[in-house]
Amino acid sequence: MPRDAGLKIFWFYAVNIDIRYHLFNQALGKCIRCTTMKIRQIDIKDYNQFKNLTLDLTYPKGHQKQGQPLDKVCFLGQSGTGKTSLLNVIRAALTANLTQEHDHILQGTLTKEYPMPITSQILITADFKKVKSRIEIRTEGEMVWQWQSLPLAMTAKQFMETFYQDKNKLIAFPAELITNLNQILQEKPVSPVSYLKTTAEMEQRSKASNIFDFETDNVLDIWNEILTDINAYKIKELKYSQQITKALGISAEEGERAFKNYQHWKAENPNPLEQLAQQLNLILNKFSLTVKTSFDFESMEDLKFIEIESLDGTEIPYSGWSTGTKQVILTMTPLLKLNTDDSIILLDEPERSLYPDIQTEIINYYTQLAPNAQFFFATHSPIIASAFEPWEIVELKFNTEGTVYQEKYYQGERQVDNYLIDPRYLRWDVILMRVFDLAVEGNEKFRNQALTQAARLEALLSKLKAENRLETEEGQKTWAAYQALATKLAWRLDAYEED
């Protein structure tokens, strides 16, 4: 078995990854590029808290996409069950560099019967349509890729380069994403020259990588790459502004000519920030905010990052940005600006700092922005969970031995009709209890006792009514006590009436 002993996957010690690629057409790179890449299964034999865990990430029988990898996956589970670890495993598989060692031809087919190699600890199975590939990361420094059905005369490296040409393998958002903005703002003051230099460097980085991991140290580089066209546009606009000032110093006519040049350029070149603003404003307007799309260049802040203002036009300094605003801008902007076809997108805690009403919509926003990507979310939010089909949810739980298993939502065969829980149909409190296993429905110390007392008063009122005694002193006293409790419990006051 070929090995690449130099490969370092630092966040887990023993990983074995299996990727299956499928291909519509085995001959032409053009067709390779029109295929989709999605992970379809993760098998973990022994890694951290996981033992003999298999996650089937395909649509079940009876679904219109039956057997295809899921478009989006949501990891749920108590802290420590390994949601983020799973995201890291996927990240590790996609950030590995391919070498000649990875051209090994896979013997046999990658079916369920295909034995897991003895040295393997984790298997991730993915589809590139018909091209199959298997990556084994066995130890911290040892990873092996195996390939099946590669296009003729193509090495694995060539295949991957062709497949990901002008596309991105991975876009990964950590839970602590908002620290990105602090890192950007803490950078030394910028100048147009340094921006142009950075832009050139970014173009080089882009060709080499296809990875956008917002947890890495080079966050500034990544953001400059994402905002390349916006920054270039700002710099151009700044130059026109300088030219107009200079021309006005010569004569009014020169100034007018320079201004006309600027207007002509503006008419020919739409501001890329306008497009971004249009999408971001769908959510930012709910916070009474909007993206600032015009610049006065009175400060170099205009060149640093996206800026926002209130709906009445008051600029909001970065120090005044709410964490929810940061979260929305820092996650949505990359999805709007980058090519997300065939990308794997990891988003840890998408609910971070978002008010419930935004949480109800955010998953749809994300998936609409990247319709040809595969998303992996990890969440603690019942509202986020309600955006998923039941087979898209992977709920991790500890068993009594302290290892992790996946809670099954279906009985018998894995078939759409056999699923017992579907969060899309449930109220939030029911999702909390059924999916997140919260045992209580409120502050039990107060609520439970009040419920028990109110239920009795309700029964008493029914009895008094049947006996035509509601207007007696006892009836009125009972009604007053019931009214007080029912109001606290937010019960309908007429609900004691018989059906």
Binding site: K397, N399, T400, Y405, E407, V430, M433, R434, D437, L438, A439, V440, E441, G442, E444, N448, Q449, L451, T452, Q453, A455, R456, E458, A459, L460, K463, A466, A495, E498, D499
Partner: protein, 231 residues
């Protein structure tokens, strides 16, 4: 099946029973879930309780786990692989004050849902709702509000102090606890609807007391409507 005075006269783990007899009235060894008789006691109770939580009557063990063939000839529980479940069974000391000195006393044990075990904790208990008491009768103390799926003190009880004691025990035993209530509603509401439409229903395997009370109330309402000529 009816609620649910729990008959604990048969202990399947005869090994535990003998061991307990030897302890007699001496102070018991420290109670621990890691103790060799923990599962023996738990599964013996599940047999007596027919797989239901002693207090809330939610299903906490499948039939297979409650059968006598889970024990070998020496009266020990045979460990078997079992699928994990959302509602798992745990041992509860009904009166937590007895846990330290008599932590292995059979009479003080019940198998209950893990969802209510933590909350019950060391709260003081009242024997009026102890499910294996000789004079235990849920109908005497409890009623069921079938619209909200809540247990409450029987409205025929006029003694306010007794009502308070019952209400306190309803809370302590978790009879109206959030997830229990939610599952009870989801399980019983379709059955209630079927009954009211006169349809056949599958045998009830959990929440049997609440179901019996619902049945009784439906009958009462029907006879009331009949007597008023409303049917």
């Amino acid at each position: 099946m009816r609620m649910r005075k729990i008959d604990k006269s048969q202990i399947l783990s005869t090994a535990y029973q003998s061991w307990l007899r030897q302890l007699d009235k001496k102070t018991h060894p420290k109670y621990s879930a890691a103790h060799k008789y923990y599962k023996d006691v738990l599964v013996s109770l599940l047999f007596c309780q027919q797989g239901l939580c002693a207090y809330t009557e939610i299903l906490i063990a499948e039939k297979e786990r409650c059968r006598p063939d889970n024990f070998d000839d020496a009266g020990r529980y045979i460990e078997r692989e079992k699928p994990e479940s959302s509602f798992s069974a745990q041992l509860d000391h009904f009166d937590s004050c007895l846990k330290e000195k008599y932590g292995w006393r059979w009479e003080n044990f019940f198998a209950i849902s893990d969802k209510i075990n933590t909350e019950k904790g060391t709260q003081a208990v009242d024997e009026i709702l102890k499910p294996d008491s000789p004079d235990y009768d849920p109908y005497k103390f409890l009623s069921y509000n079938d619209k909200r799926h809540l247990f409450h003190a029987n409205i025929d009880i006029e003694d306010e102090r007794l009502v308070e004691r019952i209400e306190q025990m309803i809370v302590v035993l978790g009879l109206n606890q959030g997830t229990i209530k939610d599952n009870r509603r989801a399980y019983l509401e379709p059955k209630k609807k079927s009954l009211s439409l006169g349809k056949e229903i599958e045998p009830v395997y959990q929440f049997v007391t609440a179901f019996e009370m619902i049945q009784k109330q439906l009958l009462n309402r029907r006879s009331f409507r009949d007597s008023e000529g409303l049917a």
